[in-house]
Symmetry: C2
Subunit: 282 residues, 2 copies
C-alpha cells in the first residue's frame, strides 16, 4: 500500500494520450453609424472580430481569434489574453460559451476548443497576430427562422459573405451545423452562431447590453444596443420603465445633440459581468 505522495511521484501524466486544448474568442463591439441629419442619434451595428489565417490549415480563410491554453493558465485567462492581444484592450465582459470537441474538428489532430464571448465598448483597432495576414471587424446580421435554419451575414468593406446553418437538437442541448461551404475556418461558424444566439437571449434579459457602452450612457443608447441584438423594437417609453431596475441616475447630461439633453445613467451593481483587472483572480 503506497502513500498518496508516493503515488504522485510515480504518476507520469505523459504516459497517456491526450488532446490539445484551445480557447477561441468571439469578440463583439457595436459600430456606430452616424445619421444623415444633424438631429439623429447614431445607430449601432453589431460587429465581430475575425482574423484571416496566415498559416495552414485553413490558410487565407477567416477565423475566430484563439490559441492554445498554456500549462500555467486557466482557459478563462487564455481567452482574456487572446482578446487583449487581438484588440489591445480588456473586454468589458467575458462569457463562457461552451466546449467544442468533435473529434475531427481540426485537421491537425485532436484539439478541443473552449469558446468565449468578449464584449468591448467603443472603438478598438484590431491587431493581426504573427500567424494572421489580416484582422477586421465584420458587421453581423443574424436571422433565425422558426424551422431551425438560420443565416449569418458578415460584411467588412469590400469583403462580405453569408453562412447558412441549421440548428439541431442534440443530447445536451442544441448545436448549429453549417449547410454550405463558406470562408470560415474549422467549426467557427457554429461557434459564432452559438455566440449570437446566446447574445440575443441575454440581451433580452438586460444582461450584456451594458458592456457595449461606456460607464455612463443614455437610455436611448442602451435601447439601441438591445434592439440591435434582439431585433425586437420596443416603445422608448416602455423600455425606460423596464430598464429602470438595472440602472442608476447620474447628475450628468448629454450635450450638443439637436434635441433635449438626456440624463446619463450607470449600470446598477449586481447585474452583468466585469472582468477583474488582476489575472490571478481567475
Amino acid at each position: 500500500m503506497i502513500t498518496e505522495q508516493e503515488f504522485l511521484q510515480n504518476y507520469n501524466i505523459g504516459d497517456y494520450d491526450r488532446p490539445s486544448v484551445t480557447a477561441d474568442v468571439v469578440i463583439f463591439r457595436m459600430r456606430t453609424v452616424v445619421g444623415n441629419s444633424f438631429r439623429k442619434d447614431p445607430k449601432s451595428i453589431l460587429s465581430v472580430l475575425l482574423i484571416r489565417r496566415g498559416e495552414h490549415p485553413f490558410r487565407n480563410e477567416w477565423a475566430l481569434p484563439g490559441g492554445f491554453v498554456r500549462m500555467t493558465e486557466t482557459v478563462e485567462v487564455c481567452a482574456l489574453r487572446e482578446a487583449q492581444e487581438e484588440t489591445g484592450v480588456t473586454p468589458n465582459a467575458l462569457l463562457y460559451l461552451g466546449v467544442f470537441s468533435a473529434v475531427d474538428r481540426d485537421p491537425r489532430g485532436r484539439i478541443i476548443s473552449n469558446a468565449f464571448t468578449c464584449i468591448l465598448n467603443g472603438d478598438a483597432t484590431p491587431t493581426a497576430g504573427s500567424d494572421a495576414s489580416d484582422a477586421r471587424w465584420f458587421d453581423v446580421s443574424f436571422r433565425e427562422d422558426p424551422d431551425g435554419s438560420c443565416l449569418i451575414r458578415l460584411q467588412s468593406d469590400e469583403i462580405g459573405f453569408d453562412v447558412h446553418l441549421s440548428e439541431r437538437r442534440t443530447a445536451y442541448g442544441t448545436a448549429f451545423t453549417t449547410e454550405d461551404r463558406h470562408p470560415l475556418a474549422f467549426d467557427h461558424a457554429s461557434i459564432l452562431a452559438t455566440a449570437l444566439k446566446q447574445l440575443r437571449e441575454r440581451a433580452a434579459r438586460f444582461e450584456v447590453i451594458f458592456d457595449f457602452l461606456p460607464a455612463e450612457f443614455t437610455l436611448f443608447a442602451l435601447q439601441n444596443v438591445q434592439e440591435t441584438l434582439t431585433g425586437i423594437p420596443v416603445a422608448p417609453a416602455n423600455f425606460r420603465r423596464k430598464v429602470a431596475d438595472f440602472v442608476e441616475e447620474t447628475e450628468n447630461f448629454t450635450q450638443g445633440a439637436g434635441h433635449r439633453p438626456a440624463k446619463l445613467y450607470t449600470r446598477k451593481n449586481g447585474t452583468g459581468h466585469r472582468p477583474e483587472t488582476e489575472r490571478s483572480k481567475l
Copy 2:
C-alpha cells in the same frame, strides 16, 4: 510555400505541452419517500451519485464519477459513457455545466475537467467502478444565503457531511469556493454547487423537471419535483395552470391511491432535452 497537405504531414501535435481532459458527471435522481398515511402520495428527495475513490489521489474520499476523454470521443459522449457505466441506464438529460481548469485542481498534473449534469428517472443501483471502493446515492439539501454563502448537506444512511461554500463573482460569471475541509475530492464540491444552482434555476423555468419522471406522470408528481428543486412552494391550482403549456394530456389515469384518480400527462415536444440513443449523433 508548402501546401496544406504538406503542412499537416509535418505537423506533430505531440511537440507541444498539453493538458489532460476529463468529463465529470453530476448524476441526480429523485428518491421517493413513502408517507405514513395510505392516502399521502410519496414525497421526493433529490439524490446525487458519489463514488468513494479507491486509488490515489484523494483515496477514500467521495468524488463525482468521471474519467479521461478518449481520443475517439467527444466530451459529451465521454460523460454519457461515464454515466452509463456508473448506473447501468441512459440518463434522461445530459446538461453541460462548464469547464473547470484551475491549474492546481488535480495533484497529478494539469487536468481540465468538463462537468455535466445527468438526470435519471426512477431507481438505479450504482456500480462502483474498478477504481472506486463504493458508490452511493446521497440525499442532497442545498441552501443559498443572500450574502453568497451556501451549504450543501449530503446524507447516505450512516454517512453524512456538510460542505460550506461561498459564491463569488469572477470575470466570467460566478464560481463557488469551499470554505472548510470536507470529504469531497478535487474541486468537486464547487462543481456540485454549480450543478445544484443550475438545476434550481432550470427547474423554475420548467426545463429539467420532466427528466426526473417517467414518460407519463401526474401534475402532482411534477409539482413535487419542482418544489424539491426550487424550494419554493406553489399552490397546486396555480401550478397546474402554469405548467399547462409544457404538457399534453393522455387518456390514462392513476389508480389505487386513496383519492380521486389523476390524469397522466406527457411532456410536450420542444422543451427539455432527451439524449439520442445513437452515440454517433453526438
